[in-house]
Symmetry: C2
Subunit: 452 residues, 2 copies
């Protein structure tokens, strides 16, 4: 991966730096990290223990230290910050944007959080933070930063530039200047490009765009992602119910939300219960994996008891057992496909989606077609390989039934989960597989019981 | 979803607009779509047929029409553009950024593409498009747009503003001005904020940031996503091997790539072979789902034949059949968990990842722990419910073996797939489940065969 970054993360450099920390070679540390992007230093410190990391960041400027800490993985950061005093934490918080500051504060124990806020010597920052702490972290209010540039619609361009100058230090990335009325209500936005190209004495009222997309504080993070994606926004203003401008959400935060949502879905689909990654300890990985494995094993045990009920049938016709995997695998596959199609729809909601009845009817027709094809294939194979005709009929009939039922369950489960505020992707995980395994067996053995 | 968009997509409005199209009520169409965001009009036209859509967009300005078409779903767009003449297409292409123009051209038949390019009356656009057509669409070169603002490092701020003015129409969103040397090589960037705040006669050389992250044309889209995410970039310059500035990739395109990658992974994990969504036809949905279902059914059929080999054992001890679902479900669950952890690592590569041996050793220990716990649980249950001791031992031993093997396969499969350029998430789908089903059966019946 070639980039025009003068710096490359290597194991050699990591070891060299670790040695420098041990030898307290401050000259090497300061020299080699000079001008390195804080995201790279964070990635590096991810490999260091808390003491080593603290030694390194203490040699850097307050601003760079705050950025590095902001870029750390939250788990790592919690361990890392245990070595910091309240006044050190307060300096870090002071150098962060209000949204990042609040994320950091939310990771602290309540008492420490209060102390850090009390130690802030920046009143505006303190007010912003106290305001943001009121919001849940998964709604627009919890994603927004208070730092933004706003201009009254009566101002001229030169007044607006003055405001940008005044806020230059607080607002790192200026995408647009938000235009408000005398009552603080959001009226629109002006791009920096327009400000550069306009005459100094042009009135903002004459150049701003009024059709600005904004979100309200209570909107869920999923909806914020959808809005920013749909309208290709790099920043979106956040308003309250009255339309008053409260903050803005920038695209980098939404990219982080998208990454988290994708990771969460991946975990749910594969039955991993905690936020682990490959680099975590054997113990953490085991703990994250066991719960759903145990559920699966319990399901398997119930299956064993269930099949046991049909012991006489199995003794009479042993070949019944041969088709257990076929029935179960198909039920699982159909269920996961169905739920994943619904999850996809829920992630990209359309203003014109069909009614539930219409959706289920469609699912039914798809299942009908799939079920028919699969049953015929299995019937053909069975005939070709000389299986008993009556057993072949039973297997194909049961398979057909399993496809229909698994499709229905796979469709309805994520919808119900979503309705009750759970992540619908849960339905694409071991949950639906375990349920479908049991149902598939039920359908199969019931068919066997009736027809054979 | 409340927004400060004056317009809301409703079924009523859609019907009213469709009626207006039929009645050729141009006044209503023009009036009601005035000022509506092109993304909303696209969502609306998604529900219209190609003729109706054409009628609507023909009433709008060239620029809005181009944006609407750019926002359409690619499937829909292909159908839609069949009703357009070459010169109409050429006007659309001319109004798009070069990257979007190339995406559009790539959807056309070769001959039409040539004709549309030939009909362009904008030489610069034509050169840009011909340049971009050389790149695959899944590398940085294929994602970049040629439109950007660059300034020679010897220029003054006022010269730079002159350049912004000159390019204002071509470059919609200006995030930074890229600074180049006399040889065209990228030297750094200046933010618009800095340009606004600088004195007119300041030299660019004195205010630009030299530590800019850039990507090379051949870098994969996954890597571009990682770079932009890691460094929180809103735009990244693209350079060739010599470091010459060729284009830039903006965050909205990367957000689209992230969405596509997440959707692709979801499909692979659930065994859906085509790019379908719930709104597609019964036929398309069936076609997208059947291939993996058939593979699953074939796997199930092989399982049936395999179990058939052990018919004598099954006749002797029927209870063997009871535990088939338990063994299989656990194998499937363990395999998917393992591969999904690897997929996660591959999506977030670390500069300091462990060696393969170390990774596999860790997987082995996790599997050991999981396997032990699950085997003991099953053994306990079997004892409690009065199953035969020797069968209970065999089931637990086989289960333990299945957990170890499924972990290993689940880890190694995505790594191999990735190595050979396939999407590793394929390993978390029916692929690994079907393989694990067969292997699990093999381990179980072999253990039965030896020990019972």
């Amino acid at each position: 991966m070639e980039q025009i970054v003068q710096f490359e993360l290597t194991n050699d450099f990591r070891e060299r730096l670790q040695k420098a920390v041990m030898e307290e070679d401050t000259a090497f540390i300061e020299g080699s990290l000079e001008g390195v992007n804080s995201a790279d230093i964070s990635a590096l410190l991810q490999e260091f223990d808390a003491q080593e990391s603290k030694y390194v960041v203490d040699l850097l400027s307050d601003e760079v230290r705050a950025e590095i800490i902001n870029d750390l993985d939250p788990d790592q950061r919690v361990k890392f910050l245990k070595n910091f005093e309240v006044d050190e934490l307060s300096v870090i918080v002071n150098h962060l944007d209000s949204d990042d500051a609040v994320d950091l504060l939310n990771e602290m124990p309540l008492q420490q959080r209060e102390e850090v806020i009390a130690a802030l010597d920046n009143e505006e920052k303190e007010a912003n933070i106290l305001d943001l702490l009121r919001y849940d972290d998964d709604v627009a209010g919890g994603l927004m930063a208070k730092e933004l540039i706003k201009a009254n619609h009566n101002w001229t361009v030169v007044q607006c530039i003055e405001e940008i100058r005044r806020q230059a230090e607080n607002v790192q990335k200026v995408y647009s200047v938000y235009v408000i009325g005398d009552d603080g209500k959001l009226l629109g936005r002006v791009s920096l490009k327009k400000i550069i190209l306009a005459n100094d004495h042009t009135r903002i009222a004459d150049i701003f765009e009024a059709d600005v997309v904004a979100v309200e504080t209570f909107m869920s993070e999923e909806e914020v992602v959808q809005v920013m994606r749909k309208y290709d926004l790099d920043a979106v203003p956040v308003v309250n119910v009255q339309g008053k401008l409260l903050g803005r959400i920038t695209i980098d935060d939404v990219v982080d939300v998208m990454t988290e949502l994708a990771e969460e879905e991946r975990k749910l689909m594969s039955g991993i219960t905690e936020d682990v990654e490959e680099a975590d300890s054997v113990w953490m990985l085991t703990r994250a994996r066991l719960p759903w494995l145990v559920v699966g094993v319990l399901g398997g045990f119930i299956s064993a008891k269930f099949i046991g009920v049909f012991e006489q049938e199995l003794i009479r016709i042993t070949a019944i057992a041969f088709f257990i995997p076929l029935i179960q695998a198909t039920g699982g596959n159909v269920g996961i496909q169905s739920s994943s199609i619904v999850v996809q729809s829920l992630a990209n909601p359309s203003a014109f989606s069909d009614s539930l009845i219409k959706r289920l009817l469609k699912v039914f027709f798809v299942a009908l077609l799939n079920g028919l094809v699969l049953s015929l294939i299995v019937y053909g194979f069975n005939l070709l390989t000389g299986a008993a005709i009556n057993l072949s009929v039973v297997v194909s009939l049961a398979l057909f039934g399993v496809v229909i039922v698994a499709s229905f369950l796979g469709t309805i489960t994520p919808l119900i989960l979503d309705k009750f505020g759970f992540n619908p992707a849960l339905a694409s995980g071991p949950f639906i597989t375990t349920t479908n395994d049991l149902l598939g067996l039920g359908i199969y053995f019931y068919t066997v019981h009736i027809l054979l």
